[in-house]
């Protein structure tokens, strides 16, 4: 009898523990770096106003040579809400020219490879220019197709050139060279938004002198820990060395243990490992989840003054503090003194040369196309026609920053891939914990060579 009672009690405890164990196990893990900058989920964007969209869709669309019923095959990685936004953008063109769109959505490079080698799509949108190295011979010169290249900054057209042909132009971009802060707190302490790196440095020291913690730099992200530091350091490089230097790291002409990189790490190490400069010092930086770090400047009372994070942070702040207002309680400014922007971009390539392809390329690169892209609220359009057509203040602000930039660099880790990217994260974590910068960077430079050799 006694044995049975114990058996029942024990069994209940086992179940009890299993139930409690399920709770924490179901806690969502922080998204890895590559998935994080997805501002499409920001609730503000959902408020895209149809009237604005319709208004922007006015204007002439050049359908030269297209006969009604022509088809256009397009391939991209977008799906769900993103695909709907693209359809909104394409609709005026399809309606005006009577073209039928055959779209295929895939994130799989192998599927793309098979298609390109058998029946290439007329137009491809892909989040990296590296496909020009693989399929450049098959791609059409966008200038020859009639693309309105004058709607794009020269750094875009220069980057898209290969063997004298313009193979790609960006369809959209999302910049992350920004810093989030609380205007209310800045007002309370009499701080103003810095516009140069020197001003930022002075502001940081002023905050420390006032007894405020300037930064919230927490970066814990499971086995991707370090990626927020990687973004921060790339912004420091863009500020101090410029976009050409960063692109040099990507093509290998600049080694990752170059003095310029070491200087950026020195600034980062100073800020990220001292409790006077960041919440919790080195321990706080490596142990605080990157999402928690976003909340700290907006908590009551605030634990820090600023957090450097991509556009998605805006959505996270609203989720955590539904009462906060964009513009007064939270806002962002460009990383002061950055000579170029970093971020993700989706590029347009053309394999076909049909009349429908030409008309579509003309439409997307035209002023109307840029305006419609902006009105759909699908990230920032690098097309100058986009200005003034965004349904969302945050997008409009980021778009202005992009329009005024002198260069654009992809994320170093994304561009170089592994083993560079994991070596970079490891070096950042070690440097925050007091590791020697030149030793750590020598290891990353070796990984950079390996990545480039692949």
């Amino acid at each position: 009898m006694k044995g049975k009672l114990f058996a029942v009690v024990s069994l209940m405890m086992v179940f009890g523990l299993m139930v409690t164990a399920c709770g924490p196990a179901a806690t969502p893990q922080p998204a890895p770096a590559t998935q994080a900058p997805q501002p499409t989920a920001a609730p503000t964007e959902a408020m895209a106003q149809p009237t604005a969209t319709e208004a922007a869709m006015m204007g002439g669309i050049d359908c030269t040579g297209v006969s009604s019923g022509d088809t256009l095959s397009v391939m991209y990685q977008w799906s769900g809400a993103e695909e709907e936004k693209f359809n909104t953008i394409a609709k005026p063109f399809l309606d005006a020219c009577g073209v039928t769109l055959n779209a295929e959505s895939t994130r799989d490079a192998a599927v793309l490879d098979t298609r390109v080698k058998s029946t290439p799509p007329d137009v491809l949108f892909w989040p990296s220019t590296s496909v020009t190295n693989l399929y450049g011979d098959q791609m059409q010169d966008l200038t020859a197709l009639g693309a309105h290249t004058d709607n794009y900054a020269s750094f875009w057209t220069t980057a898209g050139m290969m063997n004298g042909k313009l193979l790609t132009l960006p369809a959209k971009a999302d910049i992350k060279t920004i810093i989030w802060y609380s205007p209310a707190q800045f007002d309370a302490f009499g701080y103003s938004v810095p516009s140069t790196f020197a001003e930022l440095n002075t502001l940081v020291e002023q905050m420390v002198a006032d007894g405020n913690v300037p930064w919230s730099m927490g970066m814990e992200s499971g086995d991707a820990t370090g990626w927020t530091g990687s973004d921060f350091i790339q912004d420091l490089l863009l500020t101090q060395q410029g976009p050409d230097f960063v692109n040099g790291i990507i093509d290998g002409s600049v080694a990752y243990d170059d003095q310029g990189v070491q200087d950026a790490y020195a600034i980062y190490q100073k800020w990220a490992s001292d409790p006077k400069y960041t919440v919790g010092g080195a321990t706080g930086t490596v142990n605080t989840a990157f999402l928690d770090a976003i909340y700290k400047p907006f908590a009551d009372p605030p634990e820090a003054m600023m957090v450097k994070q991509s556009g998605f942070a805006g959505g996270e702040i609203v989720k955590q503090f539904p009462n906060l207002q964009y513009g007064t309680d939270f806002d962002f400014f460009q990383f002061p003194g950055a000579q170029g922007m970093q971020g993700g971009a989706d590029y347009m390539f053309a394999f076909g040369s049909s009349a429908a392809t030409m008309a579509f390329v003309k439409y997307i690169t035209s002023t109307e196309g840029g305006a419609n892209w902006a009105a759909a609220g699908f990230d920032e359009s690098p097309n100058t026609g986009a200005a003034g057509n965004y349904p969302d203040e945050q997008l409009a602000k980021k778009s202005d920053m992009l329009a005024n930039a002198q260069g654009f660099t992809p994320d170093l880790g994304d561009a170089l891939g592994n083993p560079f990217s994991s070596a970079e994260w490891k070096a950042i974590v070690d440097v925050v914990q007091g590791g020697d910068i030149s030793t750590e960077l020598a290891a990353v430079a070796a990984a950079q060579k390996e990545s480039l050799a692949q």
């Binding site: 114990f6 405890m13 924490p24 086995d223 919790g280 490596v286 974590v429 050799a453």
Partner: protein
Amino acid sequence: MATPQIMKQGRVVPWLYVLPALLVIAIFIIYPMVNTAQLSLTDHSGTGSAANECLQGQPCWGVLENYRYALTNTEMTTALRNNLLWLLIMVPFTVGIGLLVAVLADRVSYESLVKSLIFMPMAISFIGAGVIWRFMYAIQTGANEAQIGVLNAAITGVGAQPVAFMSSQPINNFALMMVGIWLWAGFSMTILSAALKGLPGEVLEAARVDGANEWQLFWQVMIPMILPTITVVATTLIIIVLKIFDIVFVMTGGNFGTEVIANRMFKLIVTNVGRSTAIAVLLLVLTIPVMYFNVKRFQEQEAMR
């Protein structure tokens, strides 16, 4: 009396009986093993020779280049050192705690309660355990935040400074091993407890009659008699510990000097097939002696029957 015809079997028939099993083993064990070994001699994409990975001015082992990485890269040497630490600490502690609980619980009336408490973590997956212990070890560094981690809440409760269990070396490695011991002590306890219960009462009785105290009884009678079982538990644990991955992956991701072999293998499988499979082969080679020992001991036991 002559054996009935139906009982007579040629040399071929037994092979037919084992053929299905052999086929399954060949397809799911032998082939992947051979294929992995082949891939370990290829480059990062798994197509060209590993020698293609050599960089100018760097040491190169030619087609064995991936093994040079597996044995000399600093992250790999850290991983090898940590796996050795895991072996030296987790195996003895898990067996020791399991044995201690098995022996002590045997002598109390609430044995099943104690045993189910210790055994409960076995019902939790490695990943679940990792997540639970992340909360146990959590640290808050903000000025106005309460410690939500159980351990740090207790530590700060008595007025001490919170400890960053996951990021400060070397305690983080031991903090991770603690999770492994917590998970597997129940396994070791269950099996050792069964072995203890299986001991013939007469032998223990005889030892007591001969004047042995409980301490001598334990060390000189019980331990030698359950030694084969202890070996089974220990070898099983050695193999589990060599392959340890989930706990490290969930809790530190291999950062802060906590890297282990299997985590390196996992991290590299997508981006560098050659290196990842070379690490897999290395892991296999490390496991073989344990397997060999296990099989040999098994055969000896069979022979004794």
